[in-house]
Symmetry: C2
Subunit: 120 residues, 2 copies
């Protein structure tokens, strides 16, 4: 691997906390973030943007108001803008997030799980 | 997996041709595409956008004018807008591309490898 490439597994080894997305790459005004998730997040939505979840390891359930979307490694789902969702993982999952820069992880809900995005 | 999730391996099983990106998901005005690559592509650049390459299987070399960036599974690289590049894979690689809708695979070079993007 070249030094300016991004190795996702190596990046995941740099942190252990849950629900705290880390910035690993930029694409125009979009950001690629990695997050470890475990347990239940909070119900929220993003009025201004879609949000892409790609599971790299483990199993992630994206609870929607009308159904659950469950993802394993190599599976992705795009939550449409404005749609309420609550991610959950009973064990732990490693997830790649893609969305415009500046999106707050808890959307319009806020609260204790709101995280500052650190670049790693 | 829920039916509206996207399984990347299942999508790759739907086609075999090289250098012909397939649309598998949309995120706002961006597109997630899958492509199988083998051999050399053409030197080109995209004046209007960065372009993200995430390797899912195999090995991809993104030749730049001043160096090569080599990626294996779980490694990504963002080619900055305007930077000439020529992807190459000596065996075969399965790659996820992310870029704004409407980007032409051969950029400002065109030619026989220019592909229409089909949704699968």
């Amino acid at each position: 691997m070249s030094e300016d490439a991004v190795d996702l597994n190596a990046k995941f080894d740099l942190f252990s906390e849950h629900w705290s997305p880390k910035l690993v790459a930029r694409l125009n005004d979009y950001e690629v973030k990695l997050v470890k998730v475990k347990g239940d997040f909070v119900w929220h939505s993003h009025e201004e943007t879609d949000e892409l979840f790609l599971v790299l390891d483990g199993r992630l359930t994206i609870q929607l108001r009308d159904r659950d979307v469950t993802l394993g490694p190599g599976q992705l789902f795009v939550v449409p803008r404005g749609v309420e969702h609550c991610p959950r993982s009973d064990t732990e999952a490693k997830v790649l997030l893609l969305e415009p820069a500046g999106v707050v992880n808890t959307g319009d809900t806020g609260g204790a799980l709101t995280a500052e995005v650190e670049q790693i």
